[in-house]
Subunit: 213 residues, 2 copies
């Protein structure tokens, strides 16, 4: 009746949750969902997530879907374990909250699609839709312009400390760094320094080692 | 140095924040941003939101952008005023959190675009892109299928009580009810009952009265 994550080791959303658990030094059971066999679209998985997307999460009798809802819960329920990822100060938390929204609604909208088109589709034997790449890169570049200005005045997106707002970016940043989109990050010095810093976190290395198994 | 909302009375995101303030019985100053003159893309507005989108929010020295970050902050900072919109029980809050993500990433992705194409563009003298409507309606229908199942077992999305997860839907549901997309809601009896219930909230009527001025 401990913590269980159902997902795929290469799913950025599942990685986001495993990373959060690693930052919190929490043990969990990982249950692999066979995406190629469509296990995520069938029972029993869709009883956890009716939208049929990994990951699924359980903590005792609590069952959740949506990776960002899982990490918020973990950060609060295990606030005193491992790395603090949220703030008890409501105004500081509100600023972290702004950048949590920006990640989900602006960064991920472009970044996840680019990662899927350029990196994941070829792995799955599918063709990249080249017509999508340029507009998505333009969209991501605009987001990173805002990040560059923000990170010139603040070490992390949510403030002076690493937080859930930074953490949520790591799986997609890691994927994009393996592609030509890397240049969008490297052209912006504060964004580049932030990427280097967040990708070097020991908890992320632990997740990547797990994904290699 | 009280609460200030900068936005446009017809912006669903600004309405979301005003509705939250109305549920909390909080007074605030509303500052109109002239979107047709592009005020939201210039200083001083972009010093609040570097992405240049309304609304902007201030509470004393705190400045926020992203409407959903504002409502989370208001719900926590003024937890004991007006309608409770979040739960202090971490597991109940985690479930509310799931549906907050679903609204932002699934419902709004389809619903906001439909509202913009069918309702807002004609008001602005622009033409609806008809080719987008059918796929967006299909996308929204799939989301509402999940809502129908959820609302058959739970009065509100986040549980037995009205919460921020329901509140976030109200401005877009209200807009779509004025269009042909209304049928997607009416075909699903539990969704229909939920819409009737949330649109009838006195706080929402207050926001609509303000918008008519």
């Amino acid at each position: 009746m401990g913590i269980k994550v159902q997902g795929h080791p290469l799913s950025p959303a599942a990685q986001r949750v495993m990373l959060c658990l690693a930052e919190k030094n929490l043990d969990y059971e990982f249950v692999s969902v066979d995406l190629t066999a469509g296990q995520h679209k069938k029972e029993p998985f869709i009883s956890i997530n009716p939208f049929g997307q990994v990951p699924g999460f359980e903590d005792g009798d609590l069952k959740l879907f949506e990776s960002r809802a899982m990490t918020r819960y973990i950060s609060q329920a295990y606030a005193d374990k491992g790395t603090p990822l949220i703030s008890k100060d409501l105004k500081k938390m509100a600023i972290i909250g702004v950048w949590l929204e920006v990640e989900a609604l602006k960064f991920d909208a472009a970044g996840h699609s680019l990662s899927f088109e350029i990196l994941i589709k070829p792995i799955l034997g599918m063709s990249t839709d080249e017509a999508l790449i340029e507009p998505l890169q333009g969209q991501l570049a605009s987001v990173l312009d805002v990040y560059e200005a923000r990170l010139a005045e603040s070490k992390y997106l949510g403030g002076d400390e690493f937080s859930l707002a930074d953490l949520h970016h790591i799986p997609i940043v890691n994927n994009l760094m393996k592609t030509k989109v890397k240049s969008l990050f490297e052209q912006r010095p504060h964004v580049k320094a932030w990427c280097d810093e967040i990708l070097a976190r020991p908890a992320w290395k632990k997740v990547l080692e797990g994904a290699r198994v």
